[in-house]
């Protein structure tokens, strides 16, 4: 995150925070309001200038820090994200929708024929794009915070890093590392449960394995994944079927490039080749 990388002028006085919503469930912006112990302190540090869900008073841009939730799914939102970028000094995407297209990016994989064969009441009333895309497909993004939903403590870390002009400490390693830190018994090794942990970005604190459940990848891919190898071992060692593998690659971060590529490869009749 390089706070002065944009042509947008720094505002005088308290720095201005904006929170923007695109196609999403509101859960990531809610994470900000879920910071019950820190919210008022944050409001003391920054001016919450634009946050439709929380306030009926909006301050005009430019904004020093824009948090963007949601993916781009309409022509209107394609234009709107350009406007958001133009008035934001630093733009951070929060969550799987803004960072990877979200669950609604499942449409990107759909068989068009199958969808159109269904009878609709009034298809002409709805305007939507064929794909759901991350914010980075449209504008430059300064930092991406992964997760469905994001971890509120990481969100505070990102905001704090911005305020102190330092890089955010958000580790890019895997959920496996978090499991080791937490002292979880490995659900794959001990119980033979398929787990996405080896390829999934840290941040949740290895929640699912802590609850005797395999990770389902809601934080999206970590850096340098070997997803093909994971799928190979899921099949060979755990007997996972193709449907389970594709379902786990193709959920909340379906359009993240490494997951999308591997799920398409797994779907081919010749499987892993």
């Amino acid at each position: 995150m390089v706070p002065d990388s944009r042509a947008v002028k720094k505002t005088s006085g308290k720095r201005k925070l904006a929170v923007w919503k695109f196609a999403s469930c509101d859960g990531c912006q809610l994470s900000l309001l879920d910071c019950e112990d820190e919210l008022l302190a944050l409001a003391g540090e920054m001016e919450i200038a634009y946050f439709m869900e929380a306030s009926s008073h909006q301050v005009e841009g430019p904004y020093d820090l824009s948090l963007v939730e949601g993916s781009i799914t309409t022509a209107r939102d394609k234009r709107r994200i350009q406007q958001v970028r133009a008035q934001s000094r630093v733009l951070v995407t929060i969550g799987a929708c803004a960072t990877a297209g979200g669950i609604q990016a499942l449409r990107n994989f759909s068989d068009v024929e199958e969808f159109t064969s269904v009878v609709y009441a009034h298809p002409e009333y709805i305007a939507t794009l064929k794909t759901s895309t991350p914010v980075s497909a449209h504008v430059a993004v300064d930092f991406e915070l992964q997760g469905c939903p994001i971890n509120k403590h990481q969100l505070l870390e990102v905001i704090s890093a911005f305020l102190h002009r330092r890089p955010p400490q958000v580790p890019a390693h895997s959920v496996c590392v978090e499991c080791k830190i937490r002292g979880n018994v490995c659900v794959w090794v001990a119980d033979g449960i398929p787990c996405m942990g080896p390829v999934t970005h840290a941040g949740c604190g290895a929640l699912c394995p802590g609850y005797s459940r395999g990770c389902y990848g809601c934080y999206g891919p970590k850096e340098n994944t070997n997803t093909a190898s994971l799928c190979h071992w899921w099949k060979k060692e755990l007997g996972a079927d193709q449907a389970t593998i594709v379902e786990n690659l193709r959920n909340y971060n379906a359009a993240a490039p490494v997951f999308a590529r591997e799920s398409r490869r797994q779907e081919r009749p010749d499987g892993e080749k």
Binding site: K21, F22, A23, S24, C25, D26, G27, C28, Q29, L30, L33, D34, E36, D37, L39, L40, A43, I48, F51, M52, E53, A54, S55, S56, H57, Q58, T73, T74, D77, I103, Q104, L106, R107, S110, V112, F115, T116, V118, V119, Y120, A121, H122, P123, E124, Y125, I126, A127, T128, L129, K130, S132, C148, P149, L207, Y211, S212, R213, C218, T244, N251
Partner: protein, 442 residues
């Protein structure tokens, strides 16, 4: 001819999701009211097809970050209905416990951060905190306690990971519930104070005319305040099992909204949510809640939607009381979940989301893949009532200056705590071309 005026709000603040308001009126009354929902649809019912039945609670949770537990509960009850499973009493209690957590956090968010600023004349809770620090701080503590329940039982506040068809992936130990109990005891005292404070607010005088009363619709259970189970009843005599929901309720698609409008086939508009639950189930509220209602002088039937903030505060108090009852009688289930074995079947369920009745139906095949899904969210069901309220309300407040009239209309919408993110996700995708128009239907 009277000159026509309009109230236009392009983007409603302090509601969840993206909606707009358009009202055209003149001296003769209101000519047109549109609650326009422009939040982009996300087509959950479309892409649920082909997914595994065990994924339904996790996927549908993503419809709404404010009330994910409600989606998880309706989804897993529908799946268990399809598979003929009945959860044990202990598992049933744990589900009620996590639901209490969500009611608390969702209601607290609305009471203190979205709705209270309307009554006290602020733009947001942060501004309100400068003059009313104790209220906002108590509100945050209450919300935090609700989130603590969801986090402990579900793993995290937003999109919990521990809810499973058949039960839970892991059930908490008695010891783990100990610290939570202490936190809830303190927060329950604050909830009593909140009810007193909410009742002391000044409410705009508003009731529906006798010719167009509300029809309140909620679940009703013989022994308890409804959350996960019950028959669907109304104040105008409806009394049906959940299986008959689709015979009595219908969704209409209208041109100005990305959400479907739900109507009762026989009578049209109806209202779900805290007021409906309260009015239809007052006798099942705990003694503490009933006593508190009496002390603050709040009647067992509430017909002024501006007072829904009091009803929410009483439901928060109930949820604390109920959560403590469950914790005090908790015995750890022997098995975290009942074994599930998919077969070709169909099932439905309705539960009480914080904002009201939430209906799910699924068809699954013999491999456990979903072949059809139908979801009706509370806000889809309330849209018509919200518009009707505005129609009745505006003529009563025409003496207000225009900016205050507009604010009053926005407050009337917030009475319902509308969740627009929820309401738009029930349309299936119809693809044409890149920049083109998609489609919708049931």
């Amino acid at each position: 001819m009277a000159k026509s005026k309009t109230i236009k709000v392009d983007y409603l603040a302090r509601v969840e999701g993206e909606g707009a308001l358009y009202i055209r009126y003149d001296d003769g009354g209101v000519r047109d009211v549109k609650l326009k929902i422009f939040e982009p649809p996300r087509f959950f019912e479309g892409f649920m097809r082909g997914r595994d039945y065990l994924e339904a609670p996790d996927i549908t949770a993503r419809i709404c970050g404010i009330c994910p537990v409600a989606y998880q509960m309706s989804a897993l009850h529908a799946m268990e209905h399809a598979l003929g499973l009945t959860p044990t009493a202990e598992l049933r209690d744990l589900r009620r416990l996590i639901y209490c957590g969500e009611w608390i956090e969702s209601h607290a968010l609305h009471i203190f951060m979205l709705h209270a600023p309307d009554f006290l004349g602020y733009d947001n809770a942060v501004a309100m905190a400068k003059d009313h620090p104790a209220i906002v701080q108590d509100g945050l503590e209450i919300k935090k306690a609700g989130n603590a329940i969801v986090s402990l039982i579900g793993g995290r506040e937003v999109h919990p990971i521990n809810v499973r068809v058949g039960g839970f992936y892991r059930v908490p130990t008695v010891e783990e519930l100990g610290p939570l109990r202490e936190q809830l005891l303190k927060a329950r005292d604050m909830a009593v104070q909140t009810a007193h404070w909410a009742a002391s607010l000044t409410f705009p005088r508003f009731e529906r005319p006798a010719t167009d009363p509300y029809e309140f619709v909620a679940l009703s259970h013989p022994r308890e305040y409804p959350m996960n189970e019950g028959r669907i009843v109304s104040t105008r005599g409806l009394n049906i099992p959940v299986e008959e929901y689709e015979t009595h309720f219908r969704e209409e698609h209208i041109d100005y909204s990305n959400a479907l409008h739900s109507v009762l086939v026989e009578r049209g508009a109806y209202l779900v949510g805290p007021m409906a639950r309260y009015n239809l189930n007052y006798e099942h509220l705990s003694p503490l809640v009933q006593q508190t209602a009496e002390v603050i002088g709040f009647p067992p039937f509430c017909a002024n939607p501006f007072q829904s903030i009091v009803v929410r505060s009483l439901e928060v108090l109930y949820a604390f009381d109920e959560a403590l009852r469950i914790i005090d009688s908790y015995r750890r289930p022997e098995q975290p979940y009942l074994a599930t074995d998919p077969r070709e079947s169909s099932g439905c369920a309705a539960t009480e989301a914080p904002r009201g009745l939430l209906y799910h139906r699924y068809d699954i095949n013999d491999r456990g893949k979903i072949t059809d899904a139908r979801i009706v969210a509370p806000t889809s069901q309330n849209q018509k009532s919200i518009e009707d309220d505005l129609r009745h309300l505006l003529p009563k407040f025409l003496d207000l200056p225009e900016n205050r009239l507009q604010a009053r209309c926005e407050q009337a919408i917030r009475n319902y705590d509308p969740c627009i993110s929820c309401s738009t996700h029930f349309l299936q995708l119809h693809l044409e071309h890149d920049e083109g128009r998609g489609g919708a239907g049931i």
